[in-house]
């Protein structure tokens, strides 16, 4: 009886929440004019997507209000399917995959993919075709990124994917990339922020696309209601008012609205079957695995060299150098690798503009050097002191003792933990995607967004990582068996 009434209360409470609130998801990191934290009250958000969500909530009737849920932009689709919110609105693009996998609303905004270049390149670059061999930046997992991938094969440009839409433009100005392909709203916002002459937006758009709301595949009934509200908002001028208020209204929006209201809007056709898309992604997955392997091997080589220098300094160096080496080891081990990546790539860009891959190798290598140094120091100190004294009485110099007696034995102690570290580094290398290096995990995330599922990309990615790390783990075990008894 009590349980039944409790259940009733719960159901009533939930039903009440459902009917009075429209929970919507967006990414406030995306910023104005889409969704941004209100400067006056950071717990609130503002932007045209915010106002559209409110307009939709009102239009659905029943005195509904809109409640915002923060979600990372690239995860909106997965989150809406999970039921974290009813509708995702945050400059969400209308793509064939999205239409195939989720319930998608009518388009409510038409954007243009525009190219931004440095002012001095205006004479040379007029379209994607002029960018052969050049680096072109955009946001990962977007229509623009897919266009750049297609252009890589046709015109030979080099796509560079970012996780945010701010750094592509600062990197354009600093010369790290030669062009940026992104939505005109984002380009114009960046131009305002960086001063009107920082770069040039080419007038001729590369393509057009639409922003839509995305709902869970099973929510097509709610989607139809939302579509009805959007049509009404186009008819009664409220949508135009919102877009004008945020300075993003232009005549192409009027044309879009007319097409939508006439029912003549051509939605994107559904994409190719999954199997075909998986096969299409295999080459880029292989390339990304190559990047992961190259970054890991080079980083480990750097870590070994710097680690050896640090360890011998800590064992043999004068006091002040030992202190310096100790501080290095503790600072590097005590701060996140992610922070170190940002500092080396963005923080140092005022002093030296490192290419992304080099910055990734430096950050990973210098980070792991601290761990290697501790392994080597421990290994050097594990060699019995009596052996070192015996070597001294035989007349060996310090250098000879290190080279002939201490070093070779320490190496045997260190090899197994080093191999384990290399396996860890292989996986940590996934972090370098934050500085635009598309390695295996990043490529898998792009792949997953593209096919709208993590299952196949996740399994493929795991197989590739295991193929690289299992033989190493095996090697570590063999070394331990072979030399573990030896050195003991």
């Amino acid at each position: 009886m009590i349980a039944a009434s409790f259940l009733l209360i719960c159901l009533a409470a939930q039903g009440g929440a459902d009917s009075s609130v429209l929970v919507w998801g967006g990414d406030a990191e995306g910023g104005a004019p889409f969704v941004e934290a209100d400067a006056a009250n950071p717990s609130r958000v503002r932007g045209f997507d915010v106002e559209i969500a409110e307009r939709i909530a009102r239009g659905l009737g029943g005195g509904r209000s809109a409640r915002f849920v923060q979600v990372q932009w690239s995860n909106i689709d997965q989150s809406v399917e999970r039921g974290d919110f009813a509708i995702g609105l945050s400059g969400v693009e209308d793509t064939p995959t999205r239409r195939a996998r989720h319930a998608v609303t009518l388009p409510y905004f038409e954007f243009r993919e525009v190219l931004a270049i440095r002012p001095e390149d205006q004479e040379r670059i007029r379209s994607l075709a002029d960018l052969r061999g050049r680096r072109v930046a955009t946001l990962g997992a977007t229509i623009a990124y897919d266009m750049l991938l297609a252009a890589r094969d046709s015109t030979g440009l080099l796509p560079v994917s970012y996780d945010d839409d701010v750094h592509p433009y600062t990197d354009l100005m600093s010369g790290r990339v030669d062009a940026v392909l992104l939505d005109h709203i984002i380009a114009q916002r960046a131009l305002r922020r960086l001063g009107g002459t920082a770069f040039v937006i080419l007038a001729h758009e590369v393509a057009t696309g639409h922003y839509v709301g995305v709902l869970a595949r099973a929510d097509s009934v709610l989607r139809d209601s939302v579509d009805a509200v959007l049509r009404e908002a186009m008819r009664d001028g409220s949508l135009e008012q919102i877009l004008r208020r945020w300075n993003v209204w232009d005549e192409s929006q009027g044309v879009l609205f007319e097409r939508v209201l006439r029912g003549g809007v051509a939605t994107q056709p559904a994409g190719a079957p999954v199997a075909e898309r998986v096969i299409a992604y295999l080459p880029s997955l292989a390339r990304a695995a190559g990047v992961t392997l190259a970054a890991s091997v080079l980083s480990m080589a750097l870590a070994v060299i710097v680690g050896l220098a640090l360890a011998s300094t800590r064992v043999y160096g004068p006091t002040w150098l030992r202190v310096v080496a100790t501080i290095y080891v503790e600072v590097v081990r005590g701060t996140p690798l992610l922070l170190q990546l940002f500092v080396i790539y963005y923080g140092l860009s005022g002093v030296v503009r490192l290419p992304a891959f080099l910055a990734a190798v430096l950050a990973l290598g210098l980070n792991y050097a601290a761990y290697e140094a501790e392994i080597y120091r421990g290994a050097l100190q594990a060699v019995a002191r009596a052996q070192l004294e015996a070597a001294r009485t035989l007349g060996f110099s310090e250098m000879q003792i290190l080279r002939l007696i201490r070093g070779p034995q320490a190496l045997r102690y260190a090899l197994a933990p080093m191999t384990n570290d290399f396996v860890a580094l292989l996986k940590d290398s996934a972090l370098v995607s934050v500085i635009t290096v598309v390695e295996l995990t990043k490529q898998t995330a792009i792949f997953a967004t593209n096919v709208g599922s993590w299952v196949i990309p996740g399994i493929l990615c795991a197989i590739v990582y295991l193929a690289m790390s299992l033989p190493l783990a095996q090697l570590a075990r063999r070394l331990e068996r072979r030399w573990g008894g030896h050195a003991a």
């Binding site: 052996q387 004294e389 015996a390 008894g485 030896h486 050195a487």
Partner: protein, 220 residues
């Protein structure tokens, strides 16, 4: 006959504590001298001071004309003449664990004395033969028995042909039969004008095999 080793009123302190005070002894060529005394009395410390592995605070040590003075251990570059004259066999043998028996013996010959590989191998074979461990030339240190390891350690210390051989507790790991074999071996070693200083707490061994016994008493 001039002394090979002269220790004159040697004193070693650890902080405020006297570990060794007023030790004087001489070792001549062809002579085995046993340095006796209970554990912890400073026998090993005396050997380590002679081998310039640790500093001493008072007295003087002269090895075949090379003098060590109180104060910090001189840098290795200044100890080259001493290293040529003195060999030390550690109580725990301290063999190089990553090298086989033969390489343990040849390493210093090749890298310190600059002998060729063949020359060094010949010397090692001869030494291992003399010490009855030739069949173990290719074994790893961890595969050796205590007695074998000790004889390899002696061979290694003898390889550069030092005039003075220091041995720290050589009988610690040996049964009585092997002790007497060791005694005979040591006697053979000092026939070529070599002197031996053996730190031991084994009175029986010392009386049976040493020419002279110097007994250290605890520092009051």
């Amino acid at each position: 006959m001039s002394a090979l080793l002269t220790i004159d009123r040697l004193g070693v302190r650890y902080g405020a504590r006297d570990v060794l005070r007023g030790l004087s002894l001489e070792v001549s060529r062809g002579e085995i001298v046993a340095l006796m005394g209970p554990s912890g009395v400073g026998k090993s410390t005396a050997l380590r001071a002679v081998a310039a592995l640790q500093p001493f605070d008072a007295g003087r040590i002269v090895i075949d004309g090379f003098a060590l003075a109180p104060g910090p251990v001189p840098p290795e570059s200044r100890l080259v003449p001493l290293r040529r004259r003195v060999g030390l066999v550690f109580q725990a043998h301290a063999l190089f664990e990553h090298l086989c028996v033969r390489d343990n013996v040849t390493l210093a010959l090749r890298h310190v004395l600059g002998r060729s590989g063949a020359e060094a191998d010949a010397t090692a074979s001869q030494l291992l033969e003399t010490l009855d461990v030739a069949p173990r030339a290719d074994a790893w240190p961890r595969q050796l028995s205590g007695g074998e390891a000790q004889r390899v350690a002696i061979a290694r210390a003898l390889a550069p042909d030092p005039h003075l051989l220091l041995m720290d507790e050589p009988t610690a790991a040996l049964d009585p039969a092997r002790r007497s074999t060791l005694g005979a071996t040591l006697r053979r070693l000092c026939t070529q004008g070599r002197g031996l200083l053996v730190a031991t707490h084994d009175g029986e061994f010392a009386r049976a095999h040493a020419d002279r016994v110097v007994t250290l008493e605890g520092v009051a």
